[in-house]
């Protein structure tokens, strides 16, 4: 697990990547149920799943994720969140279009998820975040630097509409170079989403 410190927002963001997830479908339905539970049980359940659950296969690098986190923190500080929480805002920021349910379907956890990234934003250092992650995710913790290893580049190209772009046609033969270029375009797309149209 890693901690990113953003002094300008008085915020610490914890991120962790898990591999070989075995309870993806159970996790997804648990998150959905938690939203509608009433009373103290509901509060406890919502606290247990108080993370952004992100499909790691559509993330190209930790900078890609960090850019979405930054733009979400910025929206929150300006009172212009497009979704209900900072965590859903991060998922929304990753999706190239404005449709919230499409964003969650694509970039959130699904029944087919095997690689998952958890993100938790907090106002102060909290020590039990990692324990909370392990309590809900059945998978193997791996460093964030392994993100590009599980990226599904064909799907990234499809969802960010990069097929047929001149930038990729020139270098189609060099896959290392292609990945660097895709990563840079994808990061830039996330960063400029607020002024895209």
């Amino acid at each position: 697990m890693e901690a990113y410190h953003y002094p300008q927002f008085n915020t610490v963001v914890y991120t962790a990547k898990f591999k070989d997830i075995k309870n993806a479908e159970a996790l997804r339905s648990r998150i959905v149920k938690a939203a509608s539970l009433d009373g103290a049980d509901g509060e406890a359940e919502r606290d247990a799943v108080n993370f952004a659950f992100i499909e790691a296969k559509l993330i190209t690098s930790s900078l890609h994720l960090e850019t979405a986190i930054y733009q979400a923190l910025l929206s929150e500080s300006q009172g212009s969140l497009r979704t209900k929480t900072i965590h859903s805002e991060i998922i929304w920021a990753l999706n190239p279009t404005n449709n919230i349910s499409e964003a969650i379907k694509l970039f959130g956890v699904s029944g087919r998820t095997t690689d998952l990234i958890l993100v938790h934003a907090a106002t102060s250092d909290t020590c039990d975040v990692q324990q909370k992650m392990h309590n809900i995710v059945d998978g193997r913790l791996v460093p964030m630097s392994t993100i590009p290893d599980s990226t599904n580049w064909a799907n990234v190209k499809k969802h960010y509409k990069l097929n047929g772009e001149l930038a990729l046609m020139e270098i189609a033969s060099d896959s290392d170079r292609e990945r660097t270029v895709i990563d840079n375009i994808v990061i830039s797309t996330v960063a400029m989403k607020s002024v895209m149209t």
Partner: protein, 277 residues
């Protein structure tokens, strides 16, 4: 987390407070900054990585801050600033998708007037060509550190492992790629180009005046602006600019003849087509 009362500065203002000013123009200030604390905390030891893995530290970004213009009405100022940040980001995005070498976008706060861009490690083309370093000495002191003032640009070029002719043809290719994508830079000068360390990429920067156009006229004027910039910055500029044009022409192929013809017209009449104003 949510706190933006009038008394406390906005997060973007706080970020600017921690940033290092590197350039101030009439329109904007340019800073170097880290979006998060550059030292990353690796909290967990990973089961399958016994040794603590090398964490990626944050890379710096360049912030272009369009500060408040007190001479404009506040609401006009806010809307112009917003539009210009958005316009620059869109022009960069179009370049990125078309394969033009430009800095990637890292952060946008249009309301705050701030555009965050990928930090390009390299040198301005202006100081790499003859004559250009003379005025820039104050800002780029390392160019003249241990070499005499005469030939320092050649020494700087050698440091990048690039011949002058290669550099000139890289400039032509990059502008051609941009014009093929119908983007007009609007302010082409050798100061608005950088050679990335390693010498492989020529990066076009400062898209503050860029716009979208497929007109031959706009492309010819873009080239004419660069020709004038060469002439005023670098002595004996004609062969330099001709090398740039030659590689531009080669890359553009069949569209070159129309632009060449128009460039000759523009040279006769100047940048402004109509004589009004």
């Amino acid at each position: 987390m949510p706190s933006s009362s009038l008394s406390s500065p906005s997060p973007t203002q706080r970020l600017l407070g921690s940033a290092q000013l590197i350039y101030q123009g009439a329109e904007a200030k340019v800073y170097k900054v880290y979006l998060r604390d550059p030292e990353l905390q690796q909290i967990a030891k990973h089961a399958d990585h016994d040794t603590c893995s090398m964490a990626e530290d944050a890379a710096p970004v360049l912030l272009k801050y369009r500060f408040n213009k007190r001479y404009r009405h506040p609401s006009l100022d806010a809307s112009l600033t917003r539009q210009r940040v958005a316009g620059e980001a869109r022009a960069l995005m179009r370049c990125l998708r078309s394969g033009v070498n430009v800095p990637g976008i890292r952060m946008v706060d249009a309301a705050g007037g701030v555009l965050g861009l990928e930090w390009v490690d390299g040198k301005s083309v202006r100081v790499l060509l003859p004559g250009g370093s003379e005025v820039m000495v104050a800002q780029d002191s390392d160019a003249t550190d241990d070499v005499g003032p005469d030939r320092c640009e050649d020494a700087a070029l050698a440091e990048f492992g690039v011949e002058r002719d290669d550099l000139l043809s890289m400039i032509g290719v990059e502008i051609a790629k941009m014009h093929i994508a119908d983007i007009i830079h609007g302010d082409l000068t050798t100061s608005n180009m950088m050679l990335r360390r390693g010498g492989k990429d020529l990066v076009l920067i400062d898209f503050g005046l860029a716009y979208h156009s497929s007109l031959v006229e706009d492309k010819a004027v873009d080239l004419y602006v660069l020709e004038r910039a060469f002439a005023s910055t670098h002595p004996d500029a004609e062969p330099l600019f001709n090398s740039v044009l030659a590689s531009y022409a080669k890359r553009l192929g069949k569209h070159w003849s129309a632009i060449k013809k128009r460039l000759d017209d523009v040279r006769l009449r100047g940048r402004k087509r109509s004589m009004v104003g």
